[in-house]
């Protein structure tokens, strides 16, 4: 309502440069990625690139990153930078383990959200009410989250598990598989036909061993999009992140929306902690379990240009690289480098068609360097694969930082009056 009245008088018809809708770009991206992986696995002989096992592991590893990223999205859309995601996630892991070993997985999920949201509330009190610098508060919450969980673990988990750094085992979720579909896809995957087998492998990984938490998380992406972009509440929340003074003058409750956004952000990060604890390979709280995933979630959000769709892509990419490494080791990851060279080849042709000589030349140089890396190495050291998200984020920031668009008032302290 508010926008239509606002826009009519003084916004000129903005030139719509993007003719293709966002969802179509997303589908094209997915299709392109599958073709690329398929061709790469065919040419290098690493069929694990698109196997169902890799996909399954990738999904599991992508969940915490995706949830942390969504947390970052909510908070930053309301103009509050949240680098305390890591601390909130740690609180979530503790809450999930504490409730999980006593009352089962659903209690773990609820407790994780509550614990994370408490961290978010603290961040909101410090940054919104007291106007503390967002980065400072985030750093403090990371310290505090780690301290509180260590203290509570020693106090509560040690008598039970005889280890202050680990909780008693947590009961897992039942997982569901679409049995008939998975078998049929399995047959197709064994067929070893270009593209078809690869698509089958990826789909089979997606429909096998799915836990309710996975489904919930996947649903949270469109839900966040709907709430933030298609409701009145979301419009107000985002207006607070773009221009709080203007929003206030239109009667939007700036503090209220910021509080809600940061608390939801903490809850989502906490849920990410639950995804770590309830991971079938782990099933307990472990000190240092989050391993910087809150920060990687933040990276996924930046990679996705502060949009839910892009964020999903970033989390999938980072989870995939991690899953591939865990599942099949550094030599398979090296095959990905070959895939990137192929991708750069396509980009070079595209840039030449558009007569952008400089970009094409830069892409050729990078492609040649990566190809030399590919033929000179036997494998990518595992130490580096784990930090691929960090490198990708730095590269994206370096190349595209001019095109990324964060909320205009992100990180600024707003004071009413």
């Amino acid at each position: 309502m508010i926008t239509t009245m606002e826009e009519k008088p003084h916004v000129p018809a903005a030139p719509r440069r993007r003719k293709v809708p966002g969802w179509a770009v997303g589908l094209l991206g997915v299709a392109g990625a599958i073709v690329l992986l398929s061709v790469t696995s065919y040419q290098t002989g690493f069929l694990q690139l698109t196997s169902s096992g890799t996909t399954q592991t990738a999904v599991r590893l992508a969940l915490p990153i995706l949830l942390a990223g969504l947390g970052g999205l909510w908070s930053e859309r309301a103009g509050v930078v949240n680098i305390g995601l890591e601390g909130m996630m740690i609180m979530g892991t503790w809450g999930a383990a504490w409730a999980g070993y006593q009352w089962g997985p659903w209690a773990a999920v609820v407790a994780a959200v509550v614990f994370g949201a408490l961290g978010g509330l603290l961040h909101a009190i410090a940054t919104v009410s007291f106007g503390v610098n967002h980065i400072v508060s985030g750093v403090a919450i990371n310290l505090l989250g780690a301290g509180v969980t260590k203290y509570l673990s020693t106090l509560i988990f040690q008598p039970l598990s005889h280890n202050p750094r680990q909780s008693p085992p947590v009961q897992p979720f039942d997982t569901y598989s679409a049995a008939g579909l998975a078998d049929w896809l399995g047959d197709l995957e064994q067929g070893k036909r270009l593209i078809i087998s690869d698509v089958a492998g990826i789909l089979r990984g997606l429909v096998t061993g799915v836990s309710p938490l996975t489904m919930l998380t996947i649903l949270l992406v469109p839900l966040s999009y709907y709430l933030l972009w298609r409701t009145r509440f979301g419009l107000r929340l985002r207006s607070v992140g773009e221009n709080p003074h203007a929003a206030d003058s239109l009667g939007v409750k700036v503090y209220f929306h910021k509080y809600v956004a940061v608390i939801v952000s903490g809850g989502l990060a906490g849920l990410g902690g639950a995804a770590l604890v309830l991971n079938p390979g782990q099933l307990s709280y472990l000190e240092g379990q989050t391993g910087g995933r809150g920060f990687i979630g933040l990276a996924a959000m930046i990679f996705g240009n502060w949009r839910p769709g892009g964020l999903l892509g970033g989390a999938a990419l980072f989870g995939y690289a991690d899953g591939l490494q865990l599942r099949s080791g550094g030599e398979t990851v090296l095959a990905l480098v070959y895939g990137v060279v192929l991708l750069l080849g396509v980009i070079v042709v595209w840039q030449l068609i558009r007569q952008r000589w400089f970009s094409a030349a830069a892409a050729i140089i990078v492609a040649v360097l990566l190809y030399l890396l590919y033929i000179s190495l036997d494998e990518i050291p595992g130490e580096f694969v784990a930090y691929a998200p960090h490198m990708v984020t730095l590269a994206v920031l370096a190349v595209a930082s001019q095109r990324l668009r964060m909320p205009a008032a992100d990180g600024l302290v707003y004071r009413r009056g």
Partner: protein, 357 residues
């Protein structure tokens, strides 16, 4: 008067508040907070605790100085954590593989550490200056990469060697060590402490007595005013980031040159983040930082005694975290109160306050 009160009151409030908070937490968990605090105080006199506290203070002091240089111009070098890790492993590798006369060897290790720290900080600095990349995000990413990079360098097929159950870099020969001051059974004080003190003095002189320090503070107060006054903003970002990284590169050296003589998996992590907290507590002032570092070191080392009375020593970490958060809140509250008082005073003197008050 008001100025001094504004400076000292917030940290005092924050420490009292955090002590109360932790006291309540201890009471809830069934422990006696007074007894816990008493044990921590008496622990100072026992064994090597006092020397440990002093050593630790020196390390935290260097870390907080590194952070403070960036803070002076509103530059958030979250990457101190990664910079000192990379610097330590590079310094250990270089120090362990060269042979030089005593003194010169130590000096070379120190210079290599500072250069490596500066080099790791140069990446986010260059990204910020040339591409406008926010330094908070890029330094967080560099912290992650630093863990991977250091783990790679100490792999056995790269520079590392297996000693017992621990992977580490080759030991630095004795010519590269830095002698300390021994107190017999009460431990040995790191010789590097004198470097820390020198850094503190140098920092004070740089900030208050040089053109660079003035330009740095001016950029922090108002970047637009500073550039109108002829300060090259990009150059300031680059130089202060590199300087911050170079000092960060020294953080790992007191322990390495004075005790460990190698970089291993037991490397002390997390000092960079403590440095951020201490710089905030000390308001970037060399004296304030020294106090903050001492407090942090006391909590760390005396907290070890809490296990003896059945209190988890992690309560100390909660206390540190709550001190940081409450000190920044307290600074903000005091600032607002003083601002309001100032406005009222001006209003009274101009006679315009009327009924508005």
């Amino acid at each position: 008067m008001g100025n001094l009160r504004g400076k000292l009151l917030p940290p005092a409030l924050a420490i009292v508040f955090s002590m109360l908070l932790c006291g309540v937490a201890l009471v809830i968990s069934g422990a006696n907070p007074l007894r816990a605090f008493g044990v921590m105080v008496t622990q100072v006199g026992k064994g090597s605790t006092l020397v440990d506290i002093i050593n630790s203070t020196g390390i935290y002091y260097i870390a907080a100085l590194a952070v403070a240089i960036g803070f002076q111009m509103n530059l958030f070098n979250i990457g101190v954590e990664g910079q000192y890790r990379v610097a330590a492993v590079v310094a250990a590798v270089v120090g362990g593989s060269i042979a030089l006369p005593p003194g010169i060897h130590t000096l070379v290790i120190i210079i290599v550490g500072a250069l490596a720290g500066a080099a790791w900080a140069a990446i986010p600095a260059i990204l910020k200056v040339t591409r406008g990349v926010n330094e908070v995000i890029s330094t967080i990413m560099m912290n992650g990469l630093a863990i991977g990079f250091s783990a790679y360098l100490i792999r056995r097929d790269v520079f590392g060697e297996l000693r017992g159950n621990n992977i580490r870099t080759p030991e630095i020969p004795e010519s590269g060590w830095m002698p300390g001051i021994s107190f017999g059974g009460s431990g040995t004080m790191f010789g590097f402490l004198f470097v820390a003190i020198a850094l503190g003095v140098g920092y004070w002189i740089m900030m208050n007595r040089t053109r660079f320090g003035f330009e740095l503070r001016a950029s922090g107060e108002s970047s637009t005013a500073a550039s109108a006054g002829g300060v090259n903003a990009k150059k300031m970002v680059l130089v202060s980031m590199l300087l911050s990284g170079a000092i960060a590169g020294l953080i790992g050296l007191p322990e390495m040159l004075g005790r460990d003589h190698t970089f291993s998996l037991n490397f002390t992590a997390g000092i960079g983040f403590s440095g951020i907290a201490i710089a905030l507590l000390g308001r970037n002032h060399p004296g304030g930082i020294a106090f903050g570092a001492l407090l942090w070191a006391f909590l760390d080392k005396s907290g070890l005694a809490l296990d003896n009375v059945g209190v988890p020593r992690e309560i100390v970490t909660i206390m540190q975290g709550s001190i940081v958060l409450s000190v920044v809140v307290a600074y903000e509250v005091v600032r607002r109160v003083e601002l309001a008082a100032e406005q009222r005073r001006v209003g009274r003197e101009l006679g315009t306050v009327g009924g508005a008050a």
